[in-house]
Amino acid sequence: MYEFLYQLLGNQILAMFALACIPLVFILLYVLFAVWLERKVSAHMQDRLGPMRVGWHGALQLIADFLKILQKEAPVSKDSDKLLYNIAPVLAFAGSFAAFAAIPFSSKLIGSEIEIGLFFILAVSSFVVAAILMAGWSSNNKYSLLGAMRSAAQIISYEIPTALVVLSMIMLTGTLSLSKISDMQTSSFWNWYILGGPGVGYPKFLLIPFMIIAFIIIYISTLAETNRTPFDIPEAESELVAGYFTEYPGIKYAMFMLNEYANMFAVSAVISILFFGGYQSPLGYFGNILHMNWMIPFEQAFWFTCKGLFFVFVQMWLRWTLPRLRVDQLMTLCWKYLIPYALLNLIIIGIISLL
């Protein structure tokens, strides 16, 4: 993609900039859709209708909300740490946006084809903790601080099961590159890692139950990392007003929301790459049938977006199903259940991959 843009624009900086804009535009469009979807899903699960006024079934509601939020005054409280206070929302979004650099949207469209993509995403997505702590500390508000502290504790704890599952996947695939992991699961859904991967013979079938366990573990722990219900104690509305962004008005608040939704898609993308074939089509490509090779990357982008949105939808589904966990329950779930299972799973997958 970079080469193509470089030939098109003839300038390295411009090409880089254009390349960086693609995920940004994608995120913004996706957030427009995701917020609408969230409101619709929540409404229909409660037998309501949700937004219906602006556009078709409220499709343009977020644009109206955004225009309203833009006009808001942005007061900064007197005793807050102005510098950190203003940096935090930008940093939070930068953290989740950076993760998109390594996510392959299709075989051609990938920000940076680094060999350690998985590691990069794990590292950069926990960067958000710093921003959250900054926001909570600089606001000089007890709710913000409590929310930020809870968030830090939660994200750091849940990094461990995530990392353990990712580790077992790395053991199985032997690579950290996300596009290579995606390419291994090509041609049909039978080769997806949730169904044992591209191998042949009995180890593949032995792997299936442990892959499902690994998927459940990583799904729960990434859900906790994005701070969404049932793991939303950092921003628990009924306890902490809004958690770490209590003090943020207008556009800065919007930045935090953007971060949350971008993060949701980033973790869904990682899960779909690890277990559900990433950008690979489950059934094969029309481009191959029709002998039109240029079509394949577009189809791949389509499948990737579909898979990502599906997991985002499941996150919303869970949000409107489960009540919030208490802090001690949250820690119990992580340290007493997820980590032992993930460790056991790691060992078993390691043994099976040796077979």
């Binding site: 899903v41 409404a43 229909h44 699960m45 409660q46 037998d47 309501r48 209708l49 219906m52 459940i216 589904w317 869970l318 409107w320 199903t321 489960l322 779930l333 259940y337 299972y341």
Partner: protein, 184 residues
Amino acid sequence: MRQYLKNTWDGIFTVLVGMKITFKHLFTRAVTIQYPEVKVPMVDRARNRLYVNIDDCIGCDQCAKACPVSCISIETVKSIPNDNIGLTSQGRKKALWVTKFDIDIAKCCFCQLCVFPCPTECIYMTDVYEYAELYRDNLVYRFSSLTEADVKEKKVNYEKLEAEKAAAKAQAAAVPPASQNKTE
């Protein structure tokens, strides 16, 4: 250890049960009514805005007397014999010009007490409930069908009649005592 495994199973199983329930609700019909476009029909005896059919009103003032919050104010002028007021829909003859029939609906407490005394059933509750106004004065509904000029005319007519009557009476009073005196 058994408890631990049971907890794990319960955790996963109960979440799946909950997800099944919410998924079902995703496709059940929403109970929301899109209000301004779709309205729930009011029940037959719902009490909302008052309406006065002024053609039937005979100006008896009973509704104003019945009103516990005094939101109805009525003024009437007697008709003169040649006036053609017309009849009520029940064929009753009207004797009064209703020069003013104001209902301050902002004061109205929707008790319906004004409706029952009305002999011609000309004041009644409708099912209109959307009548918010920006200014409180707009909530004073004037039901009288007479214009100001009409009212003035009726008053003048009536006063003229009264004056004529008084004059006739005075004349009558002035004359007979004299005749009485004569007879005595």
